[in-house]
Symmetry: C2
Subunit: 246 residues, 2 copies
């Protein structure tokens, strides 16, 4: 798909994805959000709770560090326990000292104070933020995420992640939302391949994807047409419908 929209990557941080324990919800959710606001998600990476792996991924992904994409959204590793090492790795990657952030500390102490929760060293770990970063507030928990360079660091807990996504979306540089239509054809993918190719070649600015399925009606194919120009997406859809005799 041709696009001059801003580009992005998602970085999931956590052993639990690599062990097969946890199935991702956050990248899937954010992918839908980014498409809807005109940010081209180009890559998703999942790495372990490992300092070197996180630093290397950030350098490869964030244009601000010489990496490939305009922005990066991370999820995971900002909790209170020993395996929450994302803030340390981010501080290292961006060359910013990790400090107890006064604003983060104030928000968290206020939140806990109101609930009679003791402020421990473990809890205060979550107020350690690289110098120069902007906090990302959320409506679910007191502990904030933060933004630095092209990176937005968010929590792994899905409800907190979603709240942080809502916080940052209004601040993001966005582009033209992707227009998308889906057509279901009750024919196997190989039988619609020639028609797809012809229509794809006639519309180089669009992306045509085909996804085979099999259900009680037999073999079928879902064809998805995506692009930034709704009129062109409509024309490609009409051309496909005519070819499919639908």
């Amino acid at each position: 798909m041709q696009s001059d929209n801003p580009t992005a990557a998602i970085l999931l941080i956590g052993d639990e994805f690599l062990s097969g324990r946890t199935r991702d919800l956050n990248a899937h959710h954010l992918a839908g959000v980014l498409n809807a606001i005109g940010i081209d998600l180009r890559e998703i990476r999942v790495v372990a709770d490992d300092h070197r792996a996180i630093v290397d991924a950030l350098r490869a992904l964030d244009r601000h560090l010489g990496g490939a994409w305009d922005m990066v959204f991370s999820s995971g590793g900002i909790g209170p326990t020993h395996d929450d090492i994302t803030a340390d790795a981010v501080a290292d990657a961006y060359g910013a000292p990790l400090e107890l952030n006064p604003e983060a500390r104030r928000v968290m102490e206020e939140h806990w104070g109101a609930r009679g929760v003791e402020i421990t060293a473990s809890r205060l770990r979550m107020a350690r933020i690289p110098r120069g970063a902007t906090l990302i507030r959320n409506a679910v928990s007191a502990a904030p995420g933060f933004s630095i360079g092209g990176l937005h660091v968010m929590a792994g807990v899905p409800s907190v992640f979603r709240s942080m996504v809502e916080t940052i979306v209004p601040q993001l540089a966005t582009g033209r939302p992707v227009q998308s239509v889906s057509i279901e054809v009750l024919r196997p993918e190989s039988e619609v391949a020639d028609d797809l190719r012809a229509v794809a070649e006639a519309h180089p600015a669009l992306s045509l994807g085909s996804y085979p399925f099999r259900d009680e009606r037999g073999y079928g194919t879902n064809v998805v047409v995506r692009g930034l120009d709704a009129a062109e997406v409509g024309r490609a859809r009409a051309a496909l419908m005519e070819r499919f005799g639908a």
Copy 2:
């Protein structure tokens, strides 16, 4: 977690993950399989149906191309349509010409012949395999995957992917399976953080992960202890249970 097990990455290829249309099943499935057979999954990447993106990812991931890990498992992009470009990108990355593989062609023609299915150019696209690659048969469809260098190229359709995984598992260099126990504590993560850290420091060969949850009983934490030595995993579990007073 300390380990000298072979290492691996999974590469998912497909616009549908990046658009938010499709939620991954295959990486999650394979992650569980690899852990059970002693292969350390270290990274998952998702890239678009884009030649350059696929080639770059393979170079970064497969040790045979100067990349980071011993083996790579890809999923997606080997069907009959114009957006199925994985074989072309693999041929490019490994410097092997893409050829109509006689064995793949024979298997597919036999399968289709028995079903009265016409052999079209689109269908034969699925017999285009880089020279020198080994075929990966599957029990669901005729079209094979293939292995080249440290890479195993498999289908994106989950039933076909799983069948291909079953085919290759007996051929993989494996290590010691990961031993894992999970402990549920009805306390917030920040209240078990000190205990976790102490036990983690006493067992540097193990990996201790903590995963907060909230349900009708209140805040809780799942602690997961992982390692290659079952006895040590058991000792760490006992130490945690004692500290938690459980």
